[in-house]
């Protein structure tokens, strides 16, 4: 039981990170119907920027009060990662709008290769370790088994991740449902041509979608950096595929679906590694993807696509 609760907490933490990345996939897919393959690498870019800002603040400028440092890191890395997201869209996807469907997918894969290798060349191929910054936690329960006592602990880091994910999700849902920008975005999602006729700047809305997705991915990047303490140029690929799986599982195009899918994928991965085998945890996630797509193509919360002739 204790083991189960501990895994549940770990799974929710990992799932929050996946969910934040998945939102970027689901929004982009909803609005222009393409898989933004480079989104996982935007997440990676976000975590590298967070690392650099953190080091500049702590070692060069000598800040020591951690909450303020983390807040500044968060804001700066969101801004800079958003600039990356905007640029990727501007360079690789906008010229191909209205072209046939495979073209943006190929440029997305190309962009993914470019981003990975750009970071590898400029920052080196070796992993970047960051010692844990936030230590300690709350003991939730204790239990004894024949192997010894098991302590269920929720670290402060995990709490911060889960709480800030909730805050971000609430804010983001408000943004989509209440603001003019959110309205414009939902309009573009439904019918781009009609939205344009009604005076919505479609290109700008699409760009902002990429900006928002990238900003959320950079939050996920910062969390990943603080939680695992190790990043390299290749973390974006696996995280990206899993986040996409999450988006599909929740129903692509649906924001609560992306979050739900992220949590489920996180839980599945953690429980699979906890109870079966660590080596095959990626196989578990990928199999879920295949099974969901085959038997439930519209996901858990998505709307089924109607095929028109």
């Amino acid at each position: 039981m204790e083991y189960f609760v501990q895994q549940l907490i770990n799974g929710l933490t990992l799932g929050s990170i996946y969910g934040l990345i998945a939102i970027g996939y689901t929004m982009v897919y909803g609005i222009i119907g393409m898989i933004n393959f480079a989104h996982g690498d935007i997440f990676m870019i976000g975590s590298f920027i967070a690392l650099a800002v953190f080091l500049i603040l702590t070692t060069v400028l000598g800040f020591t009060f951690l909450p303020v440092v983390l807040l500044i890191v968060l804001i700066i890395s969101m801004f800079f990662t958003a600039a990356w997201g905007w640029t990727v869209e501007r360079l690789a996807y906008r010229p191909l709008r209205g072209s046939f469907r495979l073209a943006p997918l190929i440029t997305a894969i190309g962009m993914s290769i470019v981003l990975q290798n750009f970071v590898q060349i400029t920052q080196g191929a070796r992993v970047k370790p960051l010692p844990p910054q936030i230590q300690g936690g709350v003991t939730l329960m204790e239990g004894s088994t024949e192997a010894g006592t098991i302590v269920v602990q929720m670290s402060y880091m995990q709490m911060i991740i889960i709480l800030s994910t909730i805050v971000l999700m609430v804010g983001f849902t408000m943004l989509i449902s209440r603001t003019p920008l959110g309205r414009a975005q939902r309009a573009c999602e439904q019918d781009r041509k009609m939205a344009a006729l009604l005076g919505i700047n479609v290109d700008r809305t699409i760009s902002l979608t990429f900006v928002m997705g990238a900003a959320l991915a950079s939050v996920a990047g910062l969390m990943f950096l603080l939680l695992y303490g190790v990043i390299d140029f290749y973390i974006g690929f696996l995280a990206g595929v899993k986040a996409f799986t999450a988006a599909v599982l929740g129903g692509i195009g649906s924001l609560p679906g992306a979050m739900l899918g992220g949590l489920l994928i996180g839980l599945i991965e953690v429980f699979w590694s906890g109870y079966f085998s660590v080596e095959y945890k990626d196989v578990a996630a990928f199999s879920i993807l295949a099974i969901v797509l085959i038997f439930l193509p519209s996901g858990l919360l998505g709307q089924p696509e109607v095929e028109k002739v």
Binding site: L91, L96, G98, L102, Q120, K128, K193
Partner: protein
């Protein structure tokens, strides 16, 4: 531009004209309003440079390295400023000469999109074939010092041509977007390696078996994804490719996991081994032994395999099954309405494409003599797909051109030693290989979204042959 309207219904969504006008009314008339003026070019370049500075700051301007006692931070102001200046200059030059001018210098380059005349393309095909046939002897005669390196490169390019042709059946003809093609390449390579290791099979005996096994896997993986289309299909095939790699990596008892399998036997020439001394190929024919013989032999094997792939594809296109593939690519619903069994059609496309991938995989195993899961990553699938799409979906000659350009191009970087004298000894052009590869993928796609060779010859002809413009076909959508 009547043709582009047929296939680009969403391209005119943006109210560019109206909006630009509205903005012009709002702004006071300024000389910068003329989009072709020098000031506008400079301003645009300055914006691009500013953006480059923002994007590059934490990557080019800052470098983190592992140091004793944590991470060490180093500022690289020089590199950062140089990168901004390079972007500024590049953008300015492009603005002045290409984008923001009435007379772009690329005007002449834009001769009709892929509009090679039929005789030219036919001549080109035969010329390329003739060159491919004599290629090893061309290199041994004219580049005796570097022949081994060049033939090795030719083998590599030919392998990618074969893989591209194999994938072209699935993506180009049947319109099924497959991002996990490397799985079949891996199945072929591992089938041969394991057959050789456990059952002592030779290359020629294992080759058909590897193809069969890969085809079986193509069916097994193809079956569950029959109902999926477009991007979903792509992502599931990607997942399958990764699953196969992870299994190969972790099933240590059977595949030796990350250690890989070594000592894979070399192919024999009708039972003759290409080795030094008694009973070898050179000894049998009474010629002096030369290690280059093995390279030439390998080259001809892959050439033959690739040509078989091409021949089979061209023949299949004329058979009912090939026409069903192309019909499926254009419109799946229409296809089903006309009574075509879409399930079998898709499965045969998967199986035949996978089979050629499997052949290429066995060849890869015998050429390297060593395989490990490292060789079968997603990147490999992406490269093969990029070759097919950049060449122009469904175009056989396009695959050849794209392979030579992309694979040959990035291998060329290995020979650019003189760049080290320009940029200093720390500069290693090889590490920029994949960066340039990715950039080329993006640029070629933006420049020619339909690929380098974008016109297609119809498979079925009524009365006379007409070339189909690329804009007229909805290829590769999977429905």
């Amino acid at each position: 531009m009547a043709a582009s309207n047929t296939n680009a219904p969403t391209s005119d969504v943006t109210p560019v004209g109206a909006q630009a006008e509205a903005e012009a009314h709002r702004l006071p008339p300024a000389p910068a309003n003329n989009p072709h003026s020098l000031a506008a070019s400079v301003r645009d370049a300055a914006i691009a440079a500013f953006l480059a500075g923002v994007l590059g700051f934490f990557f080019i301007g800052v470098r983190t390295d592992i140091a004793p006692g944590g991470l060490d931070l180093r500022m690289r102001w020089g590199a950062w400023i140089v990168s901004i200046l390079v972007v500024f200059a590049g953008r300015l030059l492009l603005n002045i000469f290409v984008w923001k001018t009435d007379k772009p210098i690329t005007r002449r380059v834009k001769t009709g999109s892929g509009g090679m005349s039929e005789t030219v393309s036919k001549t080109l095909k035969y010329a390329l074939l003739a060159f491919a046939l004599i290629l090893p002897f061309f290199f041994t005669t004219f580049f005796p010092g570097k022949d081994r390196q060049f033939i090795d490169l030719a083998i590599l390019i030919m392998t990618y041509i074969m893989l591209g042709w194999g994938l072209n059946i699935v993506v180009g003809l049947a319109g099924l977007l497959d991002l996990g093609y490397v799985a079949f390449y891996a199945v072929g390579a591992y089938s041969f390696a394991l057959l050789a290791q456990y059952l002592d099979f030779g290359f020629w005996l294992a080759l058909p078996l590897a193809g069969l096994l890969a085809a079986t896997w193509g069916m097994i993986l193809g079956f569950p994804v029959l109902r999926l289309r477009g991007d979903y299909l792509a992502i599931v095939t990607l997942a399958f490719g990764e699953i196969i790699r992870v299994v190969l990596l972790n099933w240590y008892e059977f595949t030796k996991g990350p250690d890989g399998i070594s000592g894979i036997p070399k192919p024999t020439f009708f039972g003759l081994e290409l080795k030094r001394g008694e009973g070898g190929f050179a000894d049998f024919f009474g010629i002096a032994y030369d290690p280059i013989h093995r390279f030439i032999f390998l080259y001809y094997i892959i050439l033959a395999l690739a040509l078989i792939t091409n021949l089979v594809t061209m023949r299949l296109r004329r058979l009912p099954i090939g026409r069903a593939w192309e019909a499926l690519r254009e419109d799946e619903i229409a296809c089903r309405s006309l009574g075509i069994n879409t399930r079998n059609t898709k499965l045969t496309a998967f199986a035949i494409g996978a089979m050629f991938g499997g052949f290429a995989g066995s060849f890869f195993a015998t050429r390297q003599g060593f395989i490990s899961p490292e060789s079968f990553t997603f990147l490999e699938s992406a490269i093969i797909l990029a070759i097919v799409v950049l060449g122009g979906l469904g175009s056989q000659i396009g695959v050849v051109i794209a392979s030579v350009v992309m694979i040959g191009g990035i291998e060329l970087l290995r020979n650019l030693g003189f760049l080290q004298q320009v940029f200093g000894s720390g500069f290693d052009p090889v590490q920029y290989r994949m960066l340039i590869f990715g950039l080329a993928m993006v640029l070629i796609m933006v420049w020619k979204p339909r690929g380098l060779v974008s016109t297609r010859e119809p498979s079925a002809v009524y009365k006379e042959k007409k070339r189909i413009g690329a804009d007229m076909v909805a290829q590769g959508e999977g429905h």
